[in-house]
Symmetry: C2
Subunit: 207 residues, 2 copies
Amino acid sequence: MRIAELSETTGVPAPTIKYYIREGLVAPGQPTGRNQAKYTEEHVRRLKLVRALVEYGGLSLAAIRDLIAQVDNPDLQAFDLLGAAQRTVTQQKDPRPGPYKDSAERRLHDLLTKRGWRIKTGDPAYHTAVGVLAALDEIGRQDMLDALDDYAEAAERIAEIDVSLVGDVSDRERAVEIVVIGTSVGDTLIAMLRRLAQATVGERLYT
Amino acid sequence: MRIAELSETTGVPAPTIKYYIREGLVAPGQPTGRNQAKYTEEHVRRLKLVRALVEYGGLSLAAIRDLIAQVDNPDLQAFDLLGAAQRTVTQQKDPRPGPYKDSAERRLHDLLTKRGWRIKTGDPAYHTAVGVLAALDEIGRQDMLDALDDYAEAAERIAEIDVSLVGDVSDRERAVEIVVIGTSVGDTLIAMLRRLAQATVGERLYT
């Protein structure tokens, strides 16, 4: 297909496609004449992924280039690729060193052990989780810390739904797109469903 | 107690306390002499709430003043106060009008009916949820929409934990603080637990 059709199929304007090609995010088309090139289904998939990363992952060009390189790295197993995609859309907030952090790390370690969750060294979600637990401890929300395992159980249920949606991982672009959109848009979806549910659950209790 | 002790107890610097008093967020102390005033446990509770709203709710002074007015309004029932607190920390993102929005509204309406969730007119979580569902439809994530009820079930479980933590609502400052921190910090906690769980659930499936 020509660039006009590629643009129409993906919803990405032609000048933006050319920009992505110059930036190395998308491979150039096969030249078919002066100022003309032919594009394939592979370009469609790649462009959809780049658009999803820009619009829903909130990622910088550098971060997108990094992730795309991993999509294209045949030595990287699908599971590790999905982990890399998920970590790319996870904001790392480091906890302040101190007794609250130490205690939060022990608490999270106990949770991981209890639930059989294995984590990768340097996982941003681990560091951010430690920071959240330390903050809750510091502001006296022991009640939320006591409920940690209950929250983790609900989170595991969500993760099971998430993972079931990824399905076949042989189409690496599609699988990465599912993880990036599912993780970032999914956070907002879950946060809103939580609020909508709170209103009714609270009403049962307090009126 | 004097302002130095109030500052020490709450962790809020004395000049910041004076600023909150000038802005009407905290009542002035009872004068005990020139440039001296006496503060009570009520001041401690109020200051802790204001600090939580600033630090964890990410709220503007105007939004905090609004919410504080509702804490102080004896005609507002506890349940409605908690709803107001929750809505204050919920970002509303309006969906673009169009067929995706219409379809998202129908989908959310069906979900609310099925689960028996009642919502308040103008709830920002409702509008943001419609926007998320419309976006997922538009980018072809029918699979996530099909899993909506499963996500909602997990969200309801989270809401049950949330509401159980509020407990006694007769201390209105404390109840509002629990809702604001629980909602905002809780979103991050759940998002991180979800990621930590994904890694292990995915590993079971894909390696």
